[in-house]
């Protein structure tokens, strides 16, 4: 039985350039999973970008030293497929009755397709949005799950004019993504435009009812002597029956220095 709460998936990832992989996402997550960091697969840096993984594997030099950035091909010259990468990992998860699990991506740049045990889910575009997929029904019965994600760069990565300039040719502004990546007066362009699974990947296991995006607000009166905490939560009942819930909120004073509250 999986424990209620969040499990971060930040180890054991592999990556490979999409053009070097002849398999589909269904094959990668059923009959032909990669066995380990052997070509074209390499150890991946998640969360992180495609370039971070290539630098960590010494496939490319670190662009922050000397003029190394000049030796890294820019996406404008290589084409988007050159920085379109597969990311792959395995995870254990076995649920008990009435348990549910979500696969969460806190940030992907710029769009992706997710394959889990042979099932495909498409993630919408946008660098600054979370994705939460209810994968309860597609987990593997034996608990060993295979996950593959193909990540595509921004739709408009733009081209860096020979004169450089703030934001290059500004094409990146057509997407909802970080704009500095085309270069600015204080920095050179980022060659992969920060493509990748750039923020946390996690599994969240719940019972039949799930808490989403609580909102906490404080209000003050009488010169801050009288204060109120207002809390609003969204709840989702993912079972087939009426859920009789006890909803609790508890506020504990902070941990003062090294005094622990028990």
């Amino acid at each position: 039985m999986a424990e209620i709460g969040k499990t971060v998936l930040n180890s054991g990832w592999l990556a490979a350039r999409s053009t070097d992989v002849d398999l589909t996402g269904v094959q990668l997550t059923t009959t032909h999973p990669p066995s380990g960091p052997s070509s074209p697969w390499m150890t991946a840096f998640v969360p992180g970008t495609v370039l971070a993984t290539l630098v960590e594997n010494q496939v490319l030099p670190d662009p922050f030293y000397g003029l190394e950035n000049k030796s890294i091909i820019d996406i404008a010259d290589s084409g988007r497929e050159h920085y379109t990468f597969w990311f792959f990992t395995k995870f254990q998860c076995k649920l008990a009755v009435n348990q549910h699990v979500d696969l969460n991506f806190r940030g992907i740049n710029y769009s992706a397709e997710v394959y889990l045990n042979g099932y495909k889910k498409v993630l919408g575009k946008g660098m600054f949005r979370r994705h939460s997929l209810d994968v309860t029904d597609i987990l593997s019965p034996n608990g060993q799950n295979l996950l593959a994600v193909i990540v595509h760069p921004p739709d408009h990565p733009g081209k860096i004019p020979s004169s450089g300039g703030q934001g290059g040719d500004h094409e990146i502004g057509k997407d909802v993504a970080a704009q500095y990546v085309e270069g600015w007066d204080w920095m050179t362009p980022i060659r992969d435009r920060n493509t990748g699974i750039w923020d946390e990947v996690s599994l969240s296991t719940t019972g039949p009812v799930k808490i989403m995006d609580p909102h906490l607000v404080s209000s003050f009166f009488d010169d801050y002597k009288r204060a109120y905490l207002h809390a609003t939560v969204e709840l989702e009942n993912r079972s087939g029956w009426v859920a009789e819930c006890s909803l609790s909120i508890q506020v504990e004073t902070e941990v003062e220095d090294n005094i622990c509250l028990v």
Binding site: F128, D199, T206, L216, R238, C245, S246, Q250
Partner: protein, 229 residues
Amino acid sequence: EHLQTQQLSIPPGARVQYSFPEIFFYKPNLWWPNGMGKQSLYNVTIDVDVKGYGESDMWNHLFGFRKIENYIDSATGGRLFKVNGEPVFIRGGNWILSDGLLRLSKKRYQTDIKFHADMNFNMMRCWGGGLAERPEFYHYCDVYGLLVWQEFWITGDVDGRGDPISNPNGPLDHDLFMLCARDTVKLLRNHASLALWVGGNEQTPPDDINAALKHDLRLHPQFENGNGN
């Protein structure tokens, strides 16, 4: 110190929004910016038990009691900030992001943010061409008392005021921009350090996006009246 439990029935497959009755505090320890007092944080835990099942889900967050106000000063045209009713002299630093390959970690954020606090800053301005910063960034700004000015993804250079003039109407997909903005607000809105959402850098977002942001981020009518009822 404060525990409140409410009973709730949720129909099968339904998604509901629930507000707790407000919880009263007498003289709570307030959260203050760096150099003005302690950054008191309270651990707020929300959990839901389901009859016949047990604990179903749990969420917690370190919350700071503080009131942040800002307005344009008619005499100077500058933006003035107040925290808990006290005016703040803003010592702000520009922030793009911590690493250009997004190798972002708690440790890295703690080091970067503490460095700025040690330099006696009390605000980080997250530039519109960079990131909507991450919860770990905001957590350490909560801990070290750095107010955060967070811009959305519009810059003068790229969105209509650069050379060449380009994207005068911002990104191609305004609905996608608003979806990302709304989700980012939900991700970050409970952090004590979050002081100001800003449409963009040296540029106002396209009218429809600007209007939607202003509407969504307006003060909730419930908090409009100041007389304490």
